[in-house]
């Protein structure tokens, strides 16, 4: 299986360690991974703003970059959701359909496709609060949703439980959106920042040293809210923990 790695723009620019961890982790798991150098964006910001036709160039480039791979993996739930569920600014050719059907968010790829049993190199002796982004939770369904009362399951938790020394804090409102919401974070900045502040405080009060998530965009926002409001909590992407980061 040949894997194409997609690193979203904000990870590329602000959180390269998340990209590196994703790549190294897949390599440690014996995967053949390429990072196409001409990649930019999946088109989500434009499409989510209603400007779907403005997403066409990004979507076409995405397909050009990734059509040749058996699987496209990305450490981002919302980008995966866009490609899988909303990627329709361009004609739906066989290539496009192939890309959409074979795009995976990292956690679901590890959990459902590779079915990884353990991460012998991973150890994280800290108490963490897991943040499920709304993209992974309610669109990709990598965990059970509180509104539906369904039996508990959590793919990211399944993976994290295989990490030595880790323990978990349970916030009061684990499913509540953190308020990032893409361009919402700017157009509705006051509500967005308040939601982020409430979110990091909830985790902090539950005793979390770290917030861990499969989505860097949520954490970029939460980190900004925590720092501005003096909430002492750190942030780490799940790929980094699974790849063996100790702090």
């Amino acid at each position: 299986m040949k894997i194409g790695l997609f690193i979203p723009c904000y990870i590329d620019a602000f959180y390269p360690n998340t990209g590196i961890a994703t790549l190294e982790l897949l390599e440690k798991l014996g995967q053949d991974v390429d990072y196409p150098m001409n990649q930019t964006c999946c088109g989500q910001p434009m499409a989510n703003s209603g400007c779907n036709s403005d997403a066409a160039a990004a979507e076409a480039l995405f397909v050009k970059n990734f059509a040749k791979y058996d699987a496209i993996v990305m450490p981002s739930g919302s980008c995966t959701h866009h490609v899988r569920d909303n990627f329709d600014a361009i004609p739906q050719t066989d290539e496009v359909k192939h890309v959409r059907a074979h795009t995976y968010e990292l956690v679901e790829f590890l959990h459902d496709i590779l079915k990884v049993e353990d991460f012998p190199w991973a150890e994280f002796p800290h108490k963490v609060g897991l943040h499920n982004s709304c993209g992974t939770l309610r669109a990709l369904r990598t965990a059970s949703m509180s509104e539906l009362g369904e039996p508990f399951f959590s793919k990211p938790m399944d993976l994290l439980k295989k990490v030595k020394g880790i323990s978990f804090a349970t916030p009061k409102r684990p499913d509540e959106c953190c308020g990032f919401g893409g361009t919402f974070s700017v157009t509705e900045e006051a509500v967005s920042a308040r939601m982020g502040y409430d979110k990091v405080r909830d985790h902090h009060e539950a005793g979390a040293e770290y917030i861990v998530s499969a989505d860097t965009s949520c954490m970029m926002h939460q980190q900004g809210c925590a720092e501005r409001n003096g909430v002492p909590i750190r942030f780490i992407h799940i790929a980094e923990i699974l790849n063996g980061a100790r702090a």
């Binding site: 620019a13 403005d54 509104e147 900045e189 509500v191």
Partner: protein, 464 residues
């Protein structure tokens, strides 16, 4: 006429500045969501009920004319006068004419979103009719000159001292007496004489039942029963989408309604109105006011399934932190954001963007309206109809072009890095930068992933 867009973001920012109101609002509504969850856990058939309710509503909406005519025929057999109102103006005119025929000058009414939608009070009052809301929350809002901020708990954005001030102004009570008991008593003492002296009563309604020609009103205060039975004249006004085919369907909807709304198993009063009381007169007004047009909208017609429980508002993290009035519309919250634009696209064009599209609303909806997907679709429609602010549209055009050109894009990304690491703080965090108003920017890094990969993989011989 130039229509002014509702500025949700600005109104929300003002709401957020008042910590006690914000905290109460968020926690009170979250508590309602928690109680709703508890009720859901008690009923193992909850998801089946939601599916049934959704199917019944979709079936009914697909056969709306037949069921409405069936209702009309059966209601007439029950001695009910049935009226059809194509829009708000016709609705208000019908009400005015009925009152005029009876010489009614004092109308008491229970809560009805349709009368809010039709702005009925401001039609009737200049015509000499005194309209008195009998629902406590709605009465508070009436006295304060505000729209309801929530479809079930209309004054939920207010604290007890706010109510004490409003009552002091209107009922001459002590503005510093913040005891809910004495405030409730003041309202009771003020309302009872009005109720007893009223010459007409009005209610909304939750369900029309086609096969029986009856309708159902659910309240917790009993005020709808007083409003409808104390005067001899009862006018009920309901949207045409409120219809269900059979009485048996009530077994599905009544189980879902209050559990979803307040997290209580059932409302205190569930009244089936079957016809006028002895010597009295009963009127039902079936209101369209844009509903037929909405039914024809392929992507949005299922919003007509709504039973007005407010669960989507209670769970919405944006609504809880911005307050219902920030939506500037009769219907606020997630359901408001998908139906308000059907009344006026330009005026309500910001509302589908007042959401993170997190999807919690869709999950709690008892009739399975795909609210967050409709929000997404509305954004597209509004962009296509040129209802996005100019700056946003231009930014998206530019971003779209940039994202299609890897070389330009790479230059821009590198520029961001340079900017973050070199520009002074007052430049990065100024009023032009909404991100930085209440939040820190991400930290600059030494190297992008892209350049790391080039150095650590490509140069080390990995073929592209």
């Amino acid at each position: 006429m130039k229509v002014k867009r509702v500025n949700h973001a600005k109104a929300a920012e003002e709401f957020l500045e008042d910590a006690p109101h914000l905290t109460f609002h968020d926690e009170r509504l979250w508590d309602m969501r928690q109680k709703r969850d508890q009720q859901m856990h008690i009923l193992p058939e909850w998801q089946d009920l939601r599916s049934r309710a959704s199917e019944i509503k979709e079936h009914t909406l697909a056969n709306l004319p037949e069921y409405l005519e069936q209702f009309e025929a059966n209601a007439k057999k029950n001695g009910i006068h049935v009226h059809w109102a194509a829009d708000a103006a016709e609705h208000n005119r019908i009400v005015g004419e009925i009152l005029e025929r009876h010489g009614s000058k004092s109308l008491i009414k229970s809560k009805s979103m349709v009368t809010e939608e039709c702005d009925m009070r401001s039609y009737l009052e200049p015509r000499g009719v005194t309209v008195t809301e009998t629902d406590l929350g709605e009465r508070i809002q009436q006295l304060d000159g505000q729209m309801p901020s929530h479809i079930v708990v209309p004054a939920v954005h207010k604290l007890v001292p706010d109510v004490a001030k409003i009552f002091a102004k209107n009922y001459n009570t002590d503005p510093n007496d913040n005891s809910p008991q004495s405030l409730a008593e003041a309202q009771r003492m003020a309302a009872r004489p009005v109720i007893l002296a009223a010459d007409a009563g009005m209610t909304g309604g939750n369900f029309l039942v086609a096969e029986t020609g009856t309708f159902v009103v659910c309240t917790n205060e009993g005020n709808a029963d007083l409003s409808s039975t104390v005067p001899n004249l009862h006018i009920a006004t309901l949207g045409i989408e409120r219809i269900v085919p059979r009485m048996a369907d009530m077994g599905v909807f009544i189980r879902l309604l209050s559990r979803s709304a307040l997290g209580s198993p059932i409302t205190q009063y569930t009244t089936h109105f079957r016809g006028p009381q002895k010597g009295g007169e009963m009127h039902v007004i079936l209101v369209d006011n844009g509903r037929s047009a909405r039914l024809g909208m392929e992507e949005f017609w299922t919003s007509l399934k709504c039973i007005r429980c407010g669960a989507c508002m209670n769970t919405c993290p944006v609504y809880r932190r911005s307050g219902g009035l920030s939506y500037g519309a009769v219907y606020s919250g997630p359901i408001g954001a998908i139906i308000d634009p059907t009344f006026n696209e330009r005026k309500y064009s910001a509302l589908p963007f007042a959401s993170t599209m997190n999807g919690s609303c869709t999950n709690v909806c008892p009739v399975k309206i795909n609210i967050h997907e409709q929000l997404y679709k509305w954004r597209r429609v509004l962009a296509e109809h040129h209802e996005l602010p100019f700056v946003k549209r231009e930014i998206m055009h530019m971003a779209g072009r940039l994202m299609g050109q890897p070389t330009l894009y790479r230059t821009a990304i590198n520029g961001t890095e340079v900017a973050l690491s070199t520009l002074p703080r007052f430049v990065l965090y100024n009023w032009l930068n909404p991100w930085g108003k209440h939040r820190e920017l991400p930290h600059p890094v030494k190297q992008t992933f892209h350049s790391w990969y080039k150095e650590n993989r490509l140069k080390k011989g990995k073929a592209q």
